[in-house]
């Protein structure tokens, strides 16, 4: 048929123009390597650390790149590319002694100049890094000698160490790093245990072992990230052995997987808090009693056991309890009678009607949570209209701070509360979508920044959490647990509380 | 099987017949009931003779031919009786045996040459197929034989046309191709099912001549199916008259025509318009109507002269020109034009019938539509009942249209199938605000009675009426606005002969009582002769001859007029042996380039009002 021939020609025409450019082949991928197969829901957006804004991308970037410092499993900051560090008396300059003999994947030596290059790059306006603010506390970076670098802050900045562990501040090769974002992503050069093998965006990405890695070499020769957006498809792949590791197992599947042969479940309490936000600038949430009423009307325990299949950790404070220094605050007890009483006192004996905005598919079972909360609030007479705009519109609306009631998750890239509390709790915070204002909280937040003493700072942070808990601008539902599924013969996959996954020690036995 | 009670042809003593049909009964299934549409038919086709089956629509004549060929759908039809062809009963053959008989022993040509050829294969290939299916031939042998056949059917430049597609041929040429295909295997019998009905009269003449010639050359028998008594008279040795599925009379053609006994035969013959039958008369004449049951002639009233020549004409057309642009090229620019109507002028007086005759594409229908501005003419002046039609704006045009109404060819399509006929008839009256609903109702009822229908039929829909009835309704609708002029565009052409006669009589009656003027557009010379006061002959968009009916028909001057008249088959078997010696040609195309300047035309007046185009 002439049809098919013409189609083919058309296809080839379009294809050669576009396809060839799209196969991102960096170094040659050795044949016959059986990689560790990891199925993830979302593809990486970029391999340039300074342009990363989401977890799935971070999970790739951190295999290839390293930061100066990284938290260990206990949440303590330990040196990675930096061997040791000290703080000046005025608490404004931090000196880092770098590990020697390290090379980037492109052969460039790792040194103080590379560190300076990296920080200067993210801070430069021309870079237009979406997370330039993660280096905002840094005033300047100075090269003292080949392996010593001094980072100066504008004011004493307690969370600096934690901040330096953020994936946006991973160190990149100065020679590769002259290219930005997409261009850099073609041949990313970090110091990590893996380097890029091949990337077909939207489909598959392979990282291969960096044989010149300075530390313990990766246990697997390669790890293959396959994009499988469907939750159930990932689970099936795991069960059938098409994947060795899968991310984000839906809670409902956990029981099923636990009983399945050859499969195991890895659960890790995470930094992400799922909460219901209330807008204090809109009626009736300007009334504390109403907010308390809502807190008592939501049965967080039942949500966790029912909707979440117990995949999650209970708590009342905005920061996850696994974050070092976070306060252990109990959730508001479920008490519909009290709730009704409070509503009556506030002048709403028959309840009221409210629009409740929820996300769908962004957090585990978010839609079901919304629907369950809707039903629970109905029992105390509050009629909830669920609204679920798609996330682009939702985020724009949130940032206008006009949404009366919303369901949201809050993660933490570094495990230090400063970053997220400043954004979410401070009256000026961009993430303070409910217009929460408390002068005491604002003051404490400013103070803790410069409090380098850990215990004292932790107390200040605890007070922030307690105060915001008492003011009820939000009701924390639980902290999300991360659930990974693995084949039984997989060893060494490290799922971190900050939602990162490390494959360096991972292998199939 | 019932014993036949149908008339039979006398058994040929000398030679046994090629085809012998006995007690043929064909039934169709409709709504799970089998209904016979051909009953107990028996006849023979002798060698080298032509037998015609004649009848009106629904008489079963075509079903008969398809039954013989066994081309009817198996599921919804069944055939009883014997069909004996060259000694074997076709009815008992297996499908595969029958397939081999088709095309080899008996072949067939059909009414619609336009649709009977496969549009996507070259004609040469299609004819070759008819050859190779019955005997193995190499490609080149087949090609040579096809070209020989095309030559045989007088297709000019046969070799070069081998690879052309059917749409590149005119209707007449396609019918020749069909004949060539049918003759491919030199069949003993050719069944021709209304082979000329869809063709213009001059082309019809050519095809009839061709069939006769080929029959003489090859010595085959022909079974000719037609509704046209003129054609029968011209071609058939023997003739079978069919009526509602049965043969009512059969015998040698002369006997039937001259001594037909059956009332239906006589009704049919009396209704057939006969060219030249009006010689010596100046006024129109009603058709004689014979009762189908009794064979009695109904008395005909005389026609009085209604033409008001002294008054100013009710319709006056001067220098009317109508063209259709042809676009082509990347930007669809105008590249040529169809000069459908070129500079024609005529007058129509109250109570007068002016007929415009001509063959397809001559511009006669365009003239009718241009006069009412259904088509916007390029230039010319039209005055209807005092209105300057070309100068009218839209509302005025609507009002003007009260004075001139149209009746169209296809009675099945000219009524809205979704509207009760009462509503349809009343609609123009109400739309023009001529009176109340009640008045409209009364007037519609009155008109329906006038056209021979019943007032209580007003709530019925078009599909519940026959073609003749619908045409009566269309006439009633046209009369609702009390028009001065009625443009009847092939208004009776699609009707069966007997119905045609009745509707023509109706038109005459209405003219008598209402003093209507008719612009009667038709290709049917015989009907035109019967009902016109004056006649205009059109050819390639121009009037080539115009004048009083008697003058034009009795003293035709223009070569085209003569050609047209000589081509009309005359229902008189005594003229059967005559051949016309018409050349193989086609109507020329009225498509002209943009640069074309129409020549200045002059007319010569032969006698009073009888004008003939010079040069």
């Amino acid at each position: 048929m002439p049809t098919s021939r013409l189609f083919r020609r058309l296809g080839v025409l379009v294809g050669t123009g576009l396809v060839s450019a799209s196969l991102w082949t960096a170094p040659v991928l050795a044949q016959n390597i059986k990689p560790l197969r990891y199925a993830t829901g979302t593809d990486a957006q970029t391999l340039d650390p300074q342009f990363v804004t989401d977890i799935p991308t971070a999970r790739v970037v951190t295999q290839i790149h390293e930061t100066l410092i990284y938290p260990n499993s206990a949440g303590e900051m330990v040196g990675v590319l930096a061997e040791s560090w000290d703080v000046s008396e005025d608490k404004l300059s931090w000196t880092f002694h770098l590990r020697k003999g390290i090379k980037f994947h492109d052969g460039t030596p790792f040194n103080a100049a590379a560190v300076k290059f990296t920080f200067d790059r993210i801070m430069a306006k021309e870079t237009a890094a979406p997370r330039a603010s993660s280096a905002a506390a840094i005033d300047s970076v100075e090269v003292k000698d080949e392996h010593t670098v001094i980072i100066k802050t504008k004011s004493p900045y307690a969370p600096l160490l934690a901040q330096l562990s953020a994936y946006n501040l991973a160190i990149i090769s100065p020679s590769a790093g002259v290219k930005l974002n997409n261009e850099y992503s073609r041949a990313p050069a970090g110091t990590g245990p893996f380097k890029l093998g091949k990337w077909t965006p939207g489909e598959k990405l392979t990282i291969i072992r960096n044989d010149e890695y300075w530390g313990k070499k990766a246990a697997s020769a390669a790890v293959e990230f396959t994009v499988v957006p469907e939750d159930s498809a990932r689970v099936l792949m795991l069960m059938s052995g098409e994947a060795d590791v899968v991310s984000n197992v839906p809670p409902i599947m956990v029981n099923r997987l636990k009983g399945a042969p050859g499969v195991k479940i890895v659960e890790q309490t995470g930094y992400r808090t799922i909460y219901v936000g209330l807008n204090l600038d809109t009626k009736p949430f300007d009334d504390l009693k109403v907010r308390q009423a809502i807190a008592h009307a939501i049965d967080t325990k039942l949500l966790l056991s029912g909707v979440m299949n117990n995949i999650g950790t209970a708590g009342g404070g905005l920061e996850s309890t696994v974050i070092p220094g976070s306060a252990k605050i109990a959730p508001y007890p479920y008490n519909p009678e009290l709730s009704k009483k409070l509503l009556a006192e506030a002048g709403y004996p028959n309840g009221f009607t409210i629009d409740f905005y929820i996300t769908t598919g962004r957090y585990i079972n978010d839609k079901q949570l919304g629907e369950a909360i809707q039903a629970q609030l109905a029992k105390v007479g509050i009629k909830v209209n669920l609204q679920s705009p798609e996330f682009g519109a939702y985020s724009a609306m949130l940032r206008q701070k006009k949404i009366p009631m919303f369901l949201l998750g809050k993660g933490s890239p570094t495990g230090d509360p400063d970053f997220t509390l400043t954004i979410n709790v401070h009256s000026e915070g961009t993430g303070n979508y409910g217009n929460y204002r408390n002068d005491k909280v604002d003051r404490l937040l400013t103070e803790q920044r410069s409090t380098v003493e850990v215990a004292k700072r932790n107390e200040q942070l605890r007070q922030v959490l307690q105060q915001s808990y008492d003011d009820v601008p939000w009701i924390v539902l639980f902290y999300e647990n991360q659930i990974f599924g693995e084949r039984e013969n997989v060893r060494g996959v490290e799922v971190l509380p900050n939602e990162n996954v490390l494959f360096v020690n991972a292998k199939v036995e | 099987m019932n014993q036949t009670q149908s008339p039979t042809l006398p058994i040929q003593e000398a030679e046994s017949p090629i085809l012998s049909v006995r007690n043929l009964t064909t039934s169709f299934r409709s709504d799970d009931v089998w209904k016979p549409v051909v009953r107990n038919l028996s006849f023979d086709v002798p060698p080298r003779k032509t037998v015609a089956i004649v009848g009106e629509s629904g008489s079963g004549k075509s079903v008969t031919s398809l039954s013989i060929m066994r081309l009817l759908p198996k599921r919804s039809s069944y055939i009883e009786g014997q069909i004996n062809l060259g000694g074997q009963d076709l009815h008992t053959l297996s499908d595969d045996e029958m397939r081999r008989v088709r095309g080899r022993d008996v072949s067939m040509i059909f009414q619609e040459p336009m649709t009977s050829l496969n549009p996507i294969f070259p004609i040469g290939k299609q004819i070759a197929e008819a050859l190779t299916v019955h005997k193995p031939l190499s490609r080149s042998e087949a090609r040579a034989e096809v070209i020989r056949l095309l030559d045989k059917v007088r297709i000019p430049n046969a070799a070069s046309r081998f690879d052309e597609y059917p749409h590149q041929f005119s209707g007449g040429m396609r019918q020749r191709v069909m004949i060539a295909m049918a003759l491919a295997s030199k069949p003993k019998l050719l069944i021709a099912d209304e082979p000329t009905t869809a063709l213009d009269v001059t082309i019809q003449g050519q095809i009839l001549d061709l069939i006769k010639t080929l029959q003489d050359e090859d010595g085959m028998s022909v079974l000719f199916i037609t509704h046209d008594m003129g054609v029968v008279a011209e071609i058939a040795d023997e003739c079978i008259v069919m009526f509602r599925g049965e043969a009512v009379e059969m015998g040698p053609t002369e006997n039937i025509f001259l001594r037909g006994k059956h009332p239906y035969t006589r009704a049919l013959l009396s209704a057939v318009p006969k060219l030249g039958s009006m010689t010596g008369r100046s006024l129109p004449l009603r058709f004689p109507i014979v009762d189908v049951l009794t064979g009695d002639m109904q008395p005909q009233r005389d026609v009085i002269d209604t033409v008001a020549q002294t008054k100013s004409p009710v319709l006056s057309v001067k220098n009317l020109t109508a063209r259709f642009d042809i676009h082509s090229g990347i930007f669809s620019r105008k590249t040529a034009a169809v000069h459908a109507v070129e500079n024609i002028s005529f007058d129509l007086f109250e109570g007068e019938t002016l007929s415009i005759v001509g063959e397809s594409g001559c511009g006669k229908s365009t003239t009718g539509r241009s006069v009412t501005r259904l088509i916007e003419p390029v230039k010319g002046s039209i005055v209807i009942d005092g209105h300057d039609v070309m100068a009218l704006n839209r509302p005025a045009l609507r009002r003007m249209r009260r004075s001139i109404q149209m009746v169209f060819q296809d009675p099945f399509a000219s009524l809205n199938p979704r509207m009760a006929i009462g509503t349809a008839v009343m609609e123009p009256y109400l739309e023009h605000g001529l009176g109340s609903r009640r008045q409209a109702q009364e007037k519609a009822a009155d008109l329906l009675e006038k056209v021979g229908l019943k007032a209580d039929m007003m709530r019925r829909f078009a599909h519940e009426f026959s073609g003749g009835q619908r045409q009566r309704i269309a006439v009633a609708r046209a009369l609702m606005l009390d028009p001065k002029v009625i443009v009847a565009d092939e208004a009776v052409s699609a009707l069966d002969v007997s119905i045609k006669a009745q509707v023509c009589n109706l038109l005459l009656d209405l003219q008598q009582s209402l003093n209507l003027a008719y612009l009667f557009i038709s290709h049917d010379m015989a009907v035109v002769e019967r009902i016109s006061h004056r006649v205009a002959v059109m050819y390639l968009g121009e009037i080539v001859e115009v004048g009083p009916r008697a003058a034009v028909f009795e003293n035709p001057q223009h070569p085209y007029t003569r050609k047209l008249m000589s081509a009309v088959p005359i229902p008189d078997p005594s003229r059967r042996t005559l051949k016309r010696e018409l050349s193989v040609d086609e109507l020329r195309s009225p498509i002209r380039s943009l640069k074309y300047v129409p020549p200045v035309r002059e007319y010569r007046e032969i006698s009073t009002g009888h004008l003939v185009l010079l040069n």
């Binding site: 039903a375 | 009953r39 809205n416 519940e464």
Partner: protein, 306 residues
């Protein structure tokens, strides 16, 4: 001409064919259509399915065994039982009740979006075809542009603009169905326009509005109805596809597509959460399509199917 069936005496068979001048008694058009529809083996079962769904949809609030919105987090994803014949969903809601109430939404989806599309598309197409000339060219170009938008994606973009909701999904489906009706109406108008009875109207000096409404519309209507029936089925599919993609009906609406989308994650552990709403869509749409097939036979045997 008077009628005489049998010239030959003694023939027992009845008059064979429809004879000239015979007039059959008026039979109602509906009866005629129903009679034609019986020729399709499927039309009546299809009609019955649709009718049952309509009845269930109307009676849903009274016959639903449970509150379709009441969740019971202690009774999630229960397999079908006597208490919950279709089982329960991920929030412990009764699936049977939700499917019943969802029937209303699906029927509304189909009818609303197709009605809207016809309301816009049919007059546009009729005017385009009837008026012709430059008007026609302009309208057809706009329609070409609309048709060049890749199918469902147009609906997705529209829903993104308007915000995801069932009503907006229906509007989106309607908008993307408009050019289909416009094209069909134009094509049918063009062919009906050539009919002599339209010319007869024009020559009788009737107004164009009347010709369009009284003469052209009734004669293109059957084609439109057949297409409408087909499009109702497709609209239900498309709207539920949008809901499935999260762009249509929003939680906790028991729209079938949305139910399937929600249930998809549970299909490995509790296949009933997808089987029942999925089966309901298939059954309803199949019913409409079966009915449509018969309707096509009855109204418009030659209509090109799309």
């Amino acid at each position: 001409m008077s009628s005489n069936a049998n010239l030959m005496s003694g023939n027992p068979r009845p008059a064979p064919v429809a004879v000239e001048e015979a007039s059959r008694p008026a039979s109602s058009r509906i009866r005629q259509i129903l009679k034609q529809m019986r020729k399709s083996k499927f039309a009546l079962p299809g009609g019955a399915i649709v009718l049952i769904f309509i009845i269930l949809a109307i009676l849903a609030p009274w016959i639903a065994p449970h509150d379709p919105y009441a969740n019971d987090l202690m009774a999630m994803l229960l397999p079908p039982s006597a208490e919950h014949p279709f089982g329960t969903d991920e929030l412990g809601r009764d699936i049977l009740s939700r499917v019943l109430v969802g029937a209303r939404l699906s029927l509304v989806e189909g009818l609303f979006s197709v009605s809207l599309a016809m309301l816009i598309g049919v007059p546009t197409g009729m005017i385009s075809g009837y008026v012709g000339g430059r008007t026609d060219t302009v309208i057809m170009r706009i329609i070409d542009v609309m048709l060049a938008f890749p199918g469902v994606l147009l609906a997705i973009v529209i829903v993104s603009i308007l915000g995801p909701s069932l009503v907006n999904a229906m509007i989106a489906v309607a908008i993307y169905t408009v050019p289909i009706f416009a094209r069909l109406a134009r094509g049918s108008t063009l062919s009906v326009k050539e009919e002599p009875y339209i010319e007869a109207c024009q020559s009788a000096g009737m107004r164009h509005s009347r010709i369009l409404l009284r003469h052209i519309f009734p004669n293109i209507a059957s084609t439109l109805w057949v297409m409408a029936a087909l499009r109702v089925a497709l609209a239900i599919l498309t709207a539920s596809s949008l809901s499935f993609l999260g762009l249509g009906a929003q939680a906790p609406s028991p729209e079938w597509g949305a139910m399937l989308a929600a249930g998809r994650n549970y299909m490995l552990v509790a296949p009933h959460v997808v089987i029942f709403p999925g089966g309901a869509i298939v059954l309803l749409v199949l019913g409409i399509n079966l009915f449509q097939d018969g309707l096509r036979l009855a109204l418009d045997p030659k209509m090109a199917e799309r």
